[in-house]
Point group: C2
Chain length 239, copies 2
């Protein structure tokens, strides 16, 4: 087993730094970022490299670019932005989302009723299942079940996930970052256990989402099923 260095490209460092500055408020909505020329001088990189950093910010909707003007910082999106690539914790209003573990991480056989087909390459390994309940202002909003292939995740089942971002833990301790994925959405009525967890009466409409996440580990995917009460909130995402 080789030591993973995973060198971070320079364009990505610039992207991360600018993103941090935007979310931290150094650049306010409506502000114009330093020009590509200025950024290339500042970071000692060339303009194509800087443009690669900015294109990521455009893709995520943090800036829009306008010819002749510059890169304009956008208002952060409102709502519970779990339709995009960000983890649910990172994309919610700061400090209002709490996470409670319902079922602690445990090793199980792969369920047979997942919405997405589990690749054979993953089936030969075990499956780690955990479930969590997310609340906004102490009101339960969505319940989430996650299924991960048990490949090279030492001490994963011992970790605490209360009020922690799963994406953050995967990134920090296991060098796994989410690069994309797909999702399927339905509208269903709440029944049984979901009602209890979300504190709903039976028969109310809720969102049901199945997600498959792609990661930087080739062939490594994981899966999430999610039930969301959209009575007081909505899900939001970029097109």
């Amino acid at each position: 087993m080789s030591h993973i260095v995973e060198a971070i490209p320079r364009y990505r460092k610039v992207y991360l730094e600018l993103k941090e500055q935007i979310t931290a408020g150094v650049f306010q909505p409506g502000d114009i970022l330093p020009s590509e020329q200025a950024l290339s001088t500042q970071y000692e990189l060339t303009r194509p490299t800087i443009r690669q950093s900015l294109s990521e910010l455009v893709r995520e909707g943090l800036i829009v670019k306008q010819k002749g003007i510059g890169s304009i910082v956008q208002k952060p999106k409102t709502g519970i932005g779990i339709l995009n690539i960000r983890g649910t914790t990172a994309s919610s209003p700061t400090g209002t989302l709490t996470t409670e573990v319902i079922d602690a991480p445990e090793l199980i056989d792969w369920p047979t009723d997942l919405a997405f087909e589990v690749p054979a390459a993953l089936r030969q390994f075990g499956c780690i299942r955990l479930s969590r309940l997310r609340s906004l202002y102490q009101v339960p909003v969505f319940y989430e079940e996650t299924y991960l292939p048990n490949i090279n995740l030492p001490r994963f089942t011992q970790r605490s996930f209360t009020n922690k971002s799963l994406f953050g833990i995967l990134s920090k301790h296991y060098d796994i970052s989410v690069t994309g994925g797909e999702q399927r959405i339905r509208s269903i009525v709440a029944r049984g256990r979901i009602c209890d967890l979300l504190n709903l009466s039976s028969g109310l409409p809720i969102l049901h989402l199945d997600k498959k996440y792609d990661t930087n580990r080739s062939q490594y995917h994981f899966f999430t099923t999610l039930w969301c009460n959209t009575k007081d909130y909505y899900l939001e995402g970029a097109l």
Copy 2:
């Protein structure tokens, strides 16, 4: 008023051509596209330019790239892919989606209850409203109301939208292409007119989506509200 030539960049032509070939089946899922080097020879462009074309295909999920291998064509996504940037017609299984006009295009005042705020720059112009019902295999699946700013859209209200793509008409006749947008999703119960249109009994859960589209015309946005019966289908999209 100047004549709009709107020269199409070369990288975009390559993108469009490859996309056409993929959707037409010239390249099958699992196939590997010609290498960037081969494409640059074929199209007489340099590799950076070709990479710009391919990056669009990656963003739309039509291909994934793998270092040392190439660009792998992906299975077309199943489901009704209206969560992504493609118009609903273009992203559904070929030939199965029919569109019926419920309310023909008409000039109205801007509604006051749209989910998204209409920019002041658009409010001073009138609003064109039209509504359509989409059916899969003759079964109504979603109902859609669209609101467009009436700016430089000659003869728009006279056009037929039956079994036509709104995106296609905007692109072909008015040089308007959708470049992005945002959406909000809720789960609600069907009531009143929606029940009749979707042929549902009252109280069943359906999806409610509000969308705001960005276009290549600066400051020009339009809006869609959509009700979708997800009993037999689901909405799908990339993360």
